[in-house]
Subunit: 393 residues, 2 copies
């Protein structure tokens, strides 16, 4: 038995972790753009990176450390992704770390922003050298890593175990555009003082990714920089695998849901629940096809219960399906039932009412087996176009 | 040797074909919404249909005819797709044909519009019974089959063979949204008086689809109704396989390019040319990833030479690629060259100038082999959202 309690505050509430965010002049108008996470003891570390073939320089830099390395520092900048910058991008990171006035062990870097511009090394060094490593300012860190995010994304839990011991786990993330299954375009930093063994870190990160970060989509693109980083300083000495697994799942689910609800220009967070598919894989294919479909996303934006587009998208995904077995509902409002169209004016009005919510489910019962998967997506409206038509300026 | 000449006019200029479009009250405000193609002799027929698993009723109706059937009539309506309508959708088509005052052989139907509404049978019967089968009014037909198309799409060629004989081939199509590789959401009707053997019709339709309809994308969705129909009345007695293949390719290419340039709300038609990929299949995967990427499409809309998104999309498509071999150009303006970023203010200005055009190429040299493929796409702007947020009303 264990208890998981959400607590107020940022990941700096976890014993031994420090963080802050400052303005280093990367973003205009003095906005926060450079942050850090510092641990006063060395942390075990695990990361999941993007499947994009062009991994950004910080990801390559991480992977050049020896297997099983420990770290006490992560430097994070927004506005420049340090991607498509070749060997120079990695050299820039080394230059930055060798220019800092701190005693750091295996320092890590993480970047988000425009692809294909050289990193502004001098500004970053000058900014980082002004850090106070004893700061506990999670709010500033959460702001500094944002790009087109409308709001900052954090989560914090305390886990109490049966023997009276406890640990904390917390996270800060950035998301917005380019969010896609197989890791969103996003950075997510998770810190814990749980005494989690290294091998559990990898296993549980991967297990929980499948139903959280890999289940969300904003626009179907996968970035060069996606990173989920887990740092464990083990200060609490407390650990229970089931409890840690569930707390990690909660943190990752929180971050994934905040990211999808803050999809660029999104007003609605929608769960696409595919049930009774031939198997779980087919359920996942169909659910992700729905969360990625432009025609579905624009209909959600228009609050239009256009279930024909839902059905068409499932058909186009080429999973096992048959219109005489298909049932489509918006929450509990059935609009298509095994070939019968439940769509008189009264039913349409009920469905339209569901679509006015900020959050709802689209449930598709394929009647083909026992597979199920839920993908999370958002609507797509004018604001997405506005943000992305001229992102660089 | 043969000569292919584009000629003015519609497919009714082909000997023995008749067509027209009328208003049957399916669209509001007396817009044309019902059309036909009639042939005064029986036509050999071949069709390519959508890969969507939920094929619309007209597609199923076609496939219930005996193999090798001939026809002399195609009835086409817009505004209602007769899709997801089950067995009733097919019965409705039979009811319509049994209620017409014409002597027709194996009549075909084709529908486009909203999915999941029953076909307005009475309006269609009343409208179709007012047809004059001796009409030659291709302009009206081209209007009647439009949904969100901004303009009608037709093409016509005369092919002169070495022996002095000649044949004609012409087409009318509708496209706009939901255009995706593996057949666009579109209807395309091709008529010819060439004496083309049945087996060549299938072979050449499939061959030419790969580089035309299957190479275009508007929004990555594949509809329930996609159809390319080829009708051959063989009246000319003229035929040469190479000449016919090329003329058919031209007609299909014309239609595909008109459809992509008229993507919902699109201002720009862009060719994504992937060269030196590991093989042709990988080139196709990368090229189609580009033409389907929301981030690429919104950057094109914003006339923003954001080559980072081009590279990121190629990386996300997971084809063989390496940033030290990658070269990206907009027409002849190189912006990224094997790890070097060619992107000072002068180069950016040149690139931005290319992006102001209505048509241009994005060329990606992967340096991995000899594979190549060109996909055709368009930009995505506010208008796409406007059209699709409330399509049904």
């Amino acid at each position: 038995m264990f208890t998981i309690l959400p607590i107020k505050g940022y990941l700096d509430k976890i014993d031994g972790f420090f963080c802050d965010g400052i303005s280093a002049g990367l973003k205009p108008n003095g906005k926060l753009d450079l942050g850090f996470i510092y641990s006063d003891t060395l942390c075990e570390t695990e990361a999941i990176f993007t499947l994009n073939k062009f991994q950004a320089a910080p990801l390559k830099h991480y992977q050049r450390y020896e297997k099983g390395f420990k770290t006490n520092f992560v430097l994070i900048n927004s506005k420049n992704a340090n991607a498509l910058t070749g060997e120079k991008g990695i050299e820039d990171i080394n230059t930055i770390f060798s220019s800092l006035n701190f005693d750091l062990t295996n320092p890590l870097m993480s970047s988000t922003g425009v692809i294909g511009n050289p990193l502004p090394v001098e500004k970053i060094v000058a900014g980082a050298n002004s850090f106070d490593l004893s700061s506990k300012n999670g709010e500033n860190l959460s702001q500094a890593i944002m790009t087109t995010d409308a709001y900052s994304k954090t989560s914090l839990y305390e886990v109490k175990l049966e023997d009276g011991s406890s640990f904390k786990i917390g996270s800060v993330a950035k998301g917005a555009g380019m969010i896609n299954p197989n890791l969103a375009t996003m950075l997510c930093f998770i810190c814990t003082d749980a005494a989690v063994p290294k091998e559990d870190m990898r296993e549980l990160l991967e297990q929980n990714s499948h139903t959280t970060f890999n289940a969300i989509s904003v626009d179907g693109d996968t970035s060069t920089n996606d990173t989920v980083l887990l740092l464990a300083n083990k200060k609490s000495n407390a650990y229970d695998k089931e409890a840690f697994k569930e707390a990690l799942r909660l943190v990752m689910h929180d971050m994934a849901m905040l990211i999808v609800a803050d999809g660029e220009g999104a007003k609605k967070a929608v769960a696409f629940e595919v049930i009774n598919a031939a198997d779980d894989k087919e359920a996942e294919i169909a659910a992700k096809a729905l969360s990625n479909s432009l025609l579905v996303k624009t209909a959600l934006f228009g609050e239009d219960p256009n279930f024909g587009r839902i059905a068409s998208t499932i058909g186009a995904s080429r999973v096992t399906c048959d219109e005489t077995k298909l049932v489509i509902s918006y929450n509990d409002v059935v609009v298509f039932n095994k070939g019968e169209i439940y769509f008189d004016a009264a039913q349409e009005e009920k469905a339209a009412k569901v679509l006015k919510n900020d959050k709802y489910k689209v449930i598709c019962d394929l009647g083909a087996g026992e597979g199920k998967f839920t993908a999370y997506g958002c609507d797509l409206g004018y604001k997405y176009v506005e943000i992305n038509a001229d992102y660089r300026t």
